[in-house]
């Protein structure tokens, strides 16, 4: 009589178990695994791009005015997130990172929230009270669109994130965050409107 698999069965009886023995032996996630979000508020410039690209609406932001400027708290809800990495891809300052940590168990409310707070210091804010000194100048920065259909930047809104320069198809824009520089090369600009569309702060008018 031919007994099939007898050899296999006997061999397996003495071979190692195929079980990973997970909780006893910790296991690491694969390379490029996208798990728990890490948010570095010190790098964030509050450009709001991450919220705009998040399909699940997992990112929320609370802005509270404080003495030195605005206190910004950005919260990532891991129970809404699909771990698609889009926010981290779009973040120009690399403030968001999806780590390999997959131990995400929520036993009570708030267990699955990742948040960070920073204070954005208001620039060009008249710190001492002479607000009534130059009332005309306040009205001045209301910029007007140009006649030739090319983009204009509103310096009071722009955070110099550089997204417009990245997206510009004709490479007509130069943005330097350190120097607070926003420059348009009028010859290269084709008035496509892409920069106006991508600007998260709506700082470009056409």
């Amino acid at each position: 009589m031919d007994l099939p698999f007898v050899r296999e069965a006997v061999k397996n009886l003495f071979s190692r178990s195929s079980c990973d023995m997970y909780p006893l032996k910790p296991s690491e996630a694969a390379e490029q695994y996208r798990g728990r979000i890490e948010y570095d508020p010190t790098k964030c410039i509050n450009c709001h791009f991450c919220e705009r690209v998040c399909a699940g609406g997992a990112i929320s932001v609370v802005e509270v005015p404080v003495e030195e400027g605005t206190q910004i708290t950005r919260t990532f809800d891991l129970s809404t997130c699909t771990f698609c990495n889009t926010c981290a891809d779009f973040c120009n300052t690399h403030a968001i990172k999806l780590t390999k940590d997959y131990h995400m168990i929520g036993l009570k409310e708030g267990d699955l929230l990742v948040s960070g707070t920073f204070v954005k210091v208001a620039k060009k804010k008249p710190v001492p009270p002479p607000a009534e000194a130059k009332p005309e100048e306040k009205a001045a920065p209301a910029i007007k669109p140009r006649d030739d259909g090319k983009p204009v930047q509103d310096p009071s809104k722009c955070v110099y994130c550089g997204i417009c320069a990245k997206k510009c198809l004709g490479e007509a824009l130069t943005v330097d965050r350190k120097e607070k520089l926003w420059k348009l090369d009028e010859d290269k600009c084709v008035s496509c409107g892409t920069c106006e569309e991508v600007c998260p702060k709506k700082a470009i008018i056409m």
């Binding site: 997970y22 996630a29 809404t80 168990i105 699955l112």
Partner: protein
Amino acid sequence: MFKNLITESTAKSPWLFHINSGSCNGCDIELVAVLTPRYDAERFGFKLAGSPRHADIVVVSGPLTQQSLPRTLRAISQVPEPRCIVTIGSCPQSGNVFKGSYSVMAPLSKYVHVDVAIAGCTPKPEAIMDGLVQATEILKEKRKAWLEAKKNGLKDGPKAETEQEVPAAEDIPASGEEVQQ
């Protein structure tokens, strides 16, 4: 004596009942992977039960579509107390990317008390195992309270504040009403 034996054995072997309430199958496949020899959750006594009436732990995946919500709740209400409700993935906790759709009724915590929420889309089998082990701990506590209550003559067990009644199917508003308002 027999009763003690039964209580002790059931504590060591919590059976799972899995409900798919419209999941994309990602979470379901990972739950099945947990039961394969590689992860071998049967080491902890987990076993998939075929009927909610045999189960101790209910595992829910999917964003609770309008069609599946009454059925999900009916199945959950058939699981005998003390029970533990575990959600897998982002869907049952928030609706995930389907949030706001006219036919998605998530989160589950709106209708029943959720004991353990496992995040991820989809969670790794290891994460699911972590969650299930947590659920057994919770189940042990619940069973203790339950036996205590029975000794004190409460037939229906303790009604903890966290324990919500499972709403009857006809009490659930159709999501269409909510959306249109």
